[in-house]
Assembly symmetry: C2
Homo-oligomer: 213 residues x 2
């Protein structure tokens, strides 16, 4: 996100109480920013929520923009978790793909993720770097992992693809469809385990059909 000021807030937070406060500040920032967006959130409210003085915030994070960026950074680390199921040998190709698709669905339909998506995208016009940073550390990393998994799957199954990344993209498209859109616009979607499995299965079968040799 920022150019060189990595961990602007943490680099000299030796004191244990500082660590604790920084953590609380970031948590409060997340809550406020998620709830109101960047502009409508105030440092004062964040300070109050964190149980911390306003000056403390300014002493660790120089500006509101920076606090936001630092919060995003934390979220990204949290978000770039891997939901690729690796057990290709023990489980069989189709099973693994279905599990992976289910993990994707589970993760992407989470309310917290949706809210994050909303407010972060909105701030892209204000500061394009946050979008760039998020893409690199979230979706892009994820797609790489997925592509790798799919390549292994294709080796073991009777499948092929001339463009693994495009195939991975297609996988995502098949799994999510426009669920993403509905969620972002406030549609309440809580898939039951059965529905999730059904959707994952349908997507995987379609994907395998497309990539059959």
């Amino acid at each position: 996100m920022a150019d060189t000021d990595d961990n602007l807030a943490i680099e000299r937070a030796d004191r244990p109480s500082s660590q604790r406060k920084i953590t609380k500040i970031l948590a409060a920032a997340r809550a406020e920013f998620f709830g109101n967006g960047f502009s409508a959130s105030s440092i004062e409210a964040i300070a109050a929520r964190a149980g911390v003085s306003k000056v403390t915030i300014y002493s660790w994070f120089k500006t509101k923009e920076n606090l936001f960026a630092e919060m995003v950074k934390g979220e990204c680390a949290h978000l770039s978790q891997n939901f690729v199921d690796e057990n290709l040998e023990s489980k069989g190709v189709r099973e693994v793909l279905i599990d992976t698709a289910e993990n994707m669905l589970d993760f992407l339909t989470r309310d917290e993720r949706v809210r994050f998506d909303r407010i972060l995208a909105a701030e892209v016009s204000r500061d394009p770097r946050v979008g760039q940073y998020f893409l690199d550390n979230g979706p892009r990393a994820l797609l790489q992992n997925l592509a790798k998994l799919l390549e292994s799957a294709m080796d073991q199954g009777k499948m092929q693809s001339s463009d693994p990344i495009a195939s991975a993209e297609m996988f995502v498209g098949l799994v999510m469809g426009h669920l993403d859109l509905l969620l972002r616009y406030g549609e309440k979607i809580d898939l039951t385990a059965d529905q999730r499995r059904a959707r994952a299965t349908r997507a995987v079968d379609a994907w395998m059909l497309i990539h059959q040799k």
Copy 2:
């Protein structure tokens, strides 16, 4: 969006000059809201941009929220255009689907559309009704049209589906993949005509393969 106050601003705008001003206000509101989001946009700036007094805005649109909602309403009307190619008889199934997919790509990658998406989604937490309204008048209507087209296509081609809406959703998923995501996060994507056609073709062929009898 609103319950009963349809066209709050226009219902007694008999004067021609009023009409003109209302139009300018809405245009200015769109520009400001698109550029800065809801919170960071000020009525004063909108008034200045529209070349209109602040009082005039408040006299036509009671509140900032309402001005935003009215602006969204106008955009939705503008956005719910139909990009389904209807010439099924004259053109052949595959061609029509490819054309439709190309239209989708063309429309959905437009910068204005992306910006609209960003700021509207961000305001969903503040007022869920705008999301609801948009879904009903944009994506939902679109998906219905698409499903209808696809059903006709399946009749004429050797295809089938047990769930036309799910098939339409899949169509969208295959065409867009995660382009939508990249665009929302600021990725510059300007597809050449060739790339667009290639992507559309790939998606349509995949879709037809999945739905073959």
